[in-house]
């Protein structure tokens, strides 16, 4: 009930995407006495899960095994994944995708009525379930619509969480592995809109400006007409992105108004297959680059796609902060290590969303109720902080300027290839941008639907995240997975088979290390 002490619930889920909704449902099923709130800064069906396309991996067929899925994932992570977590992940994945099927998710089907699985990058066996090429959309809508069944889940749509109010003392939150930013090799130039890996899973080819399937020059060959697991276009994303950059350095990419690109050729797949399994790809290419993939190759280039890093959690989703759990892309458990295999993250939402939801529900049941008075005081302090920082009259910096300079600094220092000098430059730029941000000026001072204020709050968070990425990257003196340094080109297990943990300090992030958990797969050379 709303009152002076705010709204009261036993459990609050921040974020109404795939992981958040799955957690809320898991909590509702764990206990029928808990009052659960889902807070989402957009209406849940707008969450970014909706734009995922390719698929959701799980062991479904007799020719597959949990160990194979685990090995593929660990190999793909360049051995930085926590292997005990990966073992739990692959074990719970099949149950989760079936549960989602029971909840109405329209998985594509084989003629006998079983859910279909397709090949995907870095996977040894076909194990990626899919709903045409709008898997994230269908999963999100299935989860959201199912969540409407539960009366004990109350939603707060278009609510933005500004701070966590803590009853005793301050905390510096911990994020892990922030330096690992995944570039997806096939995005459209200009807009950066994603062309799903499934296009390559179905047999698409990547060609340079000479029409040559260049991936064979980088140890991913030999080229075959139909896709072979883990070879050529089904290699892992970090390697494919690096190949693109190297082709560009050799002068073999196309040049366009939005930068260099190569061709993703789907013509040989035929109109019938494209319309059945890749209809969204066709629609996106036509709308945004005016190309019909049935007749012409699509221009593509690597685009920033995913953060392997996130809020550090244990195997149940618990963070270092009592009562706080995290799951999904926002968390780092870690199953993805230094590089994520495509179609593992949608599964991650389900498996760890459920685990974190259940763990949080159990915690809420055992916990005594909080005293509301301190919360009221903390809440009004927060309101005053926001008023003073953002709604002041004497600001002089524009949000868009700071945002664009941050993007430029990150693209230059934390891109696909990195080196010390550029990274240090980026760190310095980010520090300066933080200082400038203190003088941000907002034109919009209204209280109702002030999207400029939200943009400022998000920019503040993004600057924090950018700093942890840059500092962690600078500190990691090796190349592993998606973190590639020209000054340290080799992987260094002796020093760096560890997670980078970033702690907040007034002078910027402090980096510490935590060894990765190795169970049954000792690190080996990562060759495809």
């Amino acid at each position: 009930m709303p009152g002076d002490d705010g709204y009261q619930h036993d459990l609050l889920v921040i974020g109404g995407g795939g992981a958040g909704l799955r957690a809320a449902i898991a909590a509702a099923e764990e206990s029928n006495r808990l009052s659960i709130a889902v807070l989402s800064k957009v209406y849940p069906m707008r969450s970014h899960t909706v734009s995922a396309e390719g698929g959701t991996a799980a062991v479904m067929r007799e020719n597959d095994s949990l160990d194979t899925h685990a090995k593929d994932t660990i190999f793909g992570s360049d051995f930085l994944a926590d292997q005990d977590v990966v073992e739990v992940f692959v074990k719970e994945a099949p149950g989760e995708v079936i549960r989602l099927e029971h909840w109405g998710c329209p998985w594509s089907r084989d003629p006998d009525g079983r859910v279909s699985v397709r090949p995907f990058g870095g996977m040894t066996v076909n194990r990626t379930l899919y709903a045409a090429d709008k898997t994230g959309f269908h999963m999100l809508h299935a989860l959201f619509q199912t969540s409407l069944k539960y009366e004990r889940i109350t939603r707060y749509d278009e609510w933005f969480a500004t701070s966590l109010l803590l009853e005793d003392g301050k905390v510096c939150g911990v994020t892990a592995l922030m330096e690992f930013v995944q570039y997806h090799p096939t995005g459209l130039p200009g807009t950066g809109i994603l062309i799903t890996e499934a296009a390559r899973g179905e047999g698409g080819h990547l060609k340079n400006k000479d029409g040559y399937r260049y991936l064979q020059d980088y140890g991913l060959g030999p080229p075959t007409d139909t896709p072979v697991h883990r070879k050529m276009e089904l290699g892992p994303r970090d390697i494919l992105s690096r190949c693109h950059i190297q082709e560009h350095q050799k002068g073999r990419t196309f040049d366009g108004p939005d930068g260099h690109y190569v061709h993703l050729d789907l013509r040989h797949l035929g109109e019938k297959l494209i319309d059945k399994n890749l209809p969204f790809v066709r629609e996106l290419a036509r709308n945004y680059v005016g190309i019909d993939p049935v007749h012409e190759p699509i221009p593509v280039r690597p685009v920033v796609h995913y953060m392997m890093g996130g809020i550090s959690t244990d195997i149940t989703g618990k963070t270092s902060l009592d009562g706080l759990y995290a799951a999904g892309e926002a968390a780092c458990v870690s199953i993805n290590g230094a590089n994520r295999l495509g179609s593992n993250s949608l599964t991650e939402l389900l498996v760890f969303g459920a685990r974190a939801g259940r763990a949080a529900a159990r915690h809420a049941q055992e916990r005594p109720t909080l005293r509301s008075n301190p919360l009221a005081q903390l809440a009004s302090d927060e309101r005053r902080r926001l008023d003073q920082r953002f709604l002041r009259a004497d600001g002089r910096e524009k949000i868009a300027d700071i945002r664009e300079e941050m993007q430029k600094a990150m693209e230059s220092g934390c891109g696909i290839y990195r080196d010390r000098a550029t990274m240090e430059g980026t760190c310095q730029t980010l520090r300066k941008l933080r200082e400038r941000f203190a003088h941000i000026s907002l034109a919009d001072k209204d209280a109702i639907f002030n999207t400029e204020l939200i943009a400022a709050l998000e920019l503040e968070c993004t600057l924090d995240v950018a700093e942890t990425v840059a500092r962690s990257a600078l500190a990691r003196e090796e190349s592993r997975g998606s973190h590639t340094r020209t000054d340290f080109p080799k992987r260094d297990d002796a020093r760096f088979l560890k997670h980078s943990l970033a702690y907040r300090t007034p002078d910027g992030p402090r980096i510490e290390y935590l060894p990765a958990t190795i169970t049954r797969w000792p690190p080996e050379e990562r060759k495809y």
Partner: protein, 273 residues
């Protein structure tokens, strides 16, 4: 060399200050690959930070950015400036909805209707997860697939004059979603969705001399303005950016409802599905 520009005439409405919406003109650079959303973002970043509007994925799958562009409901992330040259382009909030501010409308009514049509799988007995998936052939999937493509952008509500005249109308997207579940071979919830969709079953019980539930159903009947309100204008399907064809879903629901009602009159002992 002067850069080519375009003018956008944007609806503004400031709650508490304006009694009615007004129009403001902005000049933006013309880029041939820009969409109206890019132009709005440029206005917000560089000209007037107070302009409020919704957007998210900018690739036509999240449904956030629906607005009226030259009087037609469109996703502004898919409305290319080049198709409106030389302009000016009128941009307004989605029609038939209450306006919160500028280009932002209130969706509460739609969200409530979404919930009321029970858009989830309803079964008498659930299959244990350990027993695997419900088998569903590609043909069974095709039966409802088209109606599962709705991104909840509500352009169809903006196009529907019935919704404009009668806000209690359940509306195209909600009906299409209910129909999607009714057609899903795994679902058994047709009866439970009927009162909201077609009220035929509710009437049937009201007329039954043994029944005494009239008072309980009265609120549903007067509120649940279901499929029979539709006069098949068909504009919903014209503006739908995802080819869902809600008009077809509604007409087919009418047919299904009428057939079911007739059969229940002729054969009251028989159970449908």
């Amino acid at each position: 060399m002067t850069e080519e520009t375009m003018t956008l005439e944007v609806t503004r409405y400031r709650p508490g200050h304006d009694r009615e919406p007004r129009t403001e003109s902005f000049t933006v650079p013309y880029r041939k690959d820009w969409v109206v959303l890019d132009a709005l973002n440029h206005i917000k970043d560089r000209i007037d930070g107070t302009l409020s509007y919704r957007w998210s994925c900018r690739m036509g799958v999240c449904g956030s950015c629906g607005m009226m562009v030259n009087g037609v409901p469109k996703l502004t992330c898919a409305a290319f400036l080049r198709d409106y040259r030389p302009g000016p382009i009128r941009v307004g909030p989605l029609a038939n909805f209450p306006v919160i501010r500028d280009l932002v409308i209130a969706l509460d009514d739609f969200m409530e209707k979404l919930r009321r049509v029970k858009p989830w799988i309803i079964r008498a007995v659930e299959k244990p997860v350990a027993d695997g998936e419900y088998l569903q052939t590609p043909a069974q999937l095709d039966a409802y697939k088209q109606f599962s493509m709705c991104i909840n952008c509500m352009l169809c509500y903006a196009a529907c004059p019935v919704y404009g005249l009668e806000p209690a109308f359940v509306g195209p997207a909600a009906i299409a979603l209910a129909y999607r579940y009714n057609l899903d071979s795994r679902d058994e919830g047709y009866r439970l969705r009927e009162p909201v969709l077609a009220i035929a079953l509710a009437y049937r019980y009201n007329l039954d001399s043994r029944d005494e539930g009239y008072r309980l159903r009265e609120p549903v009947l007067s509120e649940a303005v279901g499929v029979w309100e539709c006069t098949f204008v068909g504009e919903c399907s014209v503006v739908c950016p995802k080819g869902v064809d809600p008009a077809a879903a509604i007409q087919r629901s009418k047919l299904a409802g009428a057939t079911d009602w007739l059969l229940s009159m002729i054969m009251p002992w028989g159970g449908r599905r």
